[in-house]
């Protein structure tokens, strides 16, 4: 471990961390947003479910380096354009997230949905006010997996020349200099942990009811009628 190298390259490390963040956050967000309508569709139709989930499975098995080369070739971006990495990682994010989203929407109780309709929610109101929040816990669980996976996959971009913390790995390999690799790994772990903490906190704020679910029912709060 070469501490001197770390001390004298703090700017470089910080820059790579920012690059890594900039490459990993968009695929997570875009992948999540795209998966919601797709997952909802998959939860409503058996055909859609089998097609989308199979497709997701196939996409996920494409090796990441192959995908990173395929994206610029098929879409015509310059090979060094960071958009290639963002797009490729979005594909992976959707591939994982569609299944979670489909499960999330399938997990909501039919009784609750039918009673929501029966008391007068319109379709859009029911989706945004009932189905989406109730799918929240399972969506969040899926998103946490996507987040970790994306943060680690970003480093593959360095192979095609898109800089991120992954560039420390290629560099360390070429220079036989393990310190760089260790710095890269630690920084990636920290980013993954940071994203995870952020997601959990967002979940706490948006899904406060989820924490009380398994709490014991309150008895002894019934008061006799008429004794107001």
């Amino acid at each position: 471990m070469n501490w001197v190298w770390i001390g004298s390259n703090l700017d470089l490390i910080w820059g790579r961390i920012l690059e890594h963040l900039a490459l990993s956050a968009p695929p997570i967000v875009i992948g999540f947003l795209l998966s919601i309508p797709l997952g909802y569709w998959a939860s409503r139709s058996k055909t859609a479910r089998s097609v989308l989930l199979t497709l997701g499975g196939i996409l996920y098995t494409i090796p990441s380096i192959a995908l990173l080369v395929l994206v610029p070739v098929t879409l015509g971006f310059a090979i060094l354009n960071p958009l290639n990495v963002v797009l490729a990682l979005t594909v992976y994010a959707v591939a994982i997230m569609v299944r979670s989203a489909a499960d999330a929407f399938s997990s909501t109780s039919r009784d609750v949905l039918s009673s929501a309709t029966a008391i007068g929610f319109s379709r859009a109101q029911r989706f945004f006010q009932v189905e989406l929040p109730l799918a929240g816990p399972v969506l969040l669980a899926g998103l946490r997996v996507v987040s970790v996976s994306t943060v680690s996959l970003v480093s593959v971009g360095s192979v095609i020349g898109v800089d991120s913390l992954g560039s420390f790995f290629t560099d360390a390999f070429q220079r036989q200099f393990p310190t760089e690799a260790i710095v890269g790994i630690v920084a990636i772990l920290l980013i993954a942990a940071l994203f995870d903490v952020i997601l959990v906190l967002i979940g706490r704020v948006l899904l406060p009811w989820n924490r009380t679910r398994r709490a014991a029912p309150a008895r002894a709060y019934l008061r006799p009628v008429g004794s107001s």
Binding site: S109, D111, V112, S114, S115, A116, T117, A118, I119, G120, F121, S122, Q125, V130, P133, L134, G136, L207, W209, N210, T212, R213, R214, A215, A216, P217, A218, R219, Y221, L222, R223, P224, V225, S228
Partner: protein
């Protein structure tokens, strides 16, 4: 007043859930649709708020054909209480009760104020307002369900086996609560049940249904008890097993009360007999709030 006119519901696979059903449900009283599963009772109820649309015939509310009313608007004007309460697990008790007023644009604070009042109405302590449904007992959840059904002060309240999943003692309480509320509020209540004792307790009018929504008998509980239309009804109400034929026990007595036994000799209740003379009851819907002890004994 709700009127079914020659209503049928055929599902795409050809099953007749309901066939040529006609019924007038009078306003401001409790009508219980009772029958076993497959009798179409829930389908019929769900036609009133267009959760199910009939394949033939019309349903009218106060003379208006409801197929002409937009379903979402229609449903917001009709209270609906279902089994397992159907509460929104991600909203607190007060938010659940305030759901429909909020959908129709009532302000948050007004809706909450009204929700708290409704909690009083249905006998829920206000300190439960900010709890989530999962933190309540089954009986409390059903009370929240009833409060939510009443939130827009609807003329019509649909109750789809609301108490079938709670234990007998709580069910008893909730049934009494419905009778008490009905005395105060006088809604047009359509109540679906598979439990004939519940039907007799709550119903001003009871409609006994057979497969496919066929009305076997319709009348007050007294009429049905006195003259079951056929063997099916007799079996359904338990008359054939002697459950309904009570005699005064010679041996057991309690002060001025005489113990009643059914045909099997099981004690099922007591009857007031001051100075050895039987008290004569004049049943009327408004005075019916005695607890019906025969049901538990009969089911045991």
């Amino acid at each position: 007043m709700i009127e079914f006119r020659d209503v049928s519901k055929v599902y795409p696979d050809g099953t007749h859930a309901v066939k040529d059903f006609s019924l007038v449900i009078p306003a401001r009283q409790i009508t219980v649709l009772v029958g076993s599963s497959g009798s179409g009772k829930t389908t019929l109820m769900r036609m009133i708020n267009r959760m199910v649309d009939p394949t033939a015939g019309t349903v009218e509310i106060d003379g208006q054909d409801i197929s002409k009313i937009e379903p979402v608007q229609l449903r917001r004007g009709i209270g609906y209480v279902m089994q397992n309460s159907g509460l929104l697990p991600h909203r607190t008790v007060a938010e659940n009760i305030a759901t429909v007023p909020r959908l129709t644009g009532v302000s948050r604070s007004d809706a909450r104020k009204r929700a708290l009042e409704l909690m009083d109405t249905v006998g829920l302590a206000r300190n439960l307002a900010d709890r989530y449904p999962s933190q309540l007992s089954g009986g409390q959840q059903q009370r929240v369900g009833v409060a939510r059904g009443l939130a827009v002060d609807p003329n019509i309240l649909l109750m789809d086996e609301p108490f079938s999943a709670v234990d007998p003692i709580v069910r008893d309480e909730l049934q009494q609560e419905v009778l008490r509320l009905q005395k105060e509020l006088a809604k047009t209540i359509v109540f679906v049940s598979h439990d004939i004792d519940e039907a007799f307790l709550l119903g001003d009018e009871v409609v006994v249904l057979e497969q496919g929504g066929h009305i076997v008998q319709k009348g007050t509980p007294e009429e049905i008890l006195a003259k079951p239309a056929n063997d099916f009804v007799a079996t359904f109400i338990g008359a054939d097993r002697g459950k309904r034929r009570l005699t005064i026990s010679d041996t057991a007595s309690r002060g001025d009360d005489r113990v009643l036994v059914d045909a099997g000799g099981y004690p099922v209740g007591v009857i007031a007999a001051p100075d050895g003379r039987l008290a004569v009851a004049h049943p009327s819907p408004k005075s019916r709030s005695v607890s019906n002890k025969t049901d538990q004994a009969g089911d045991a």
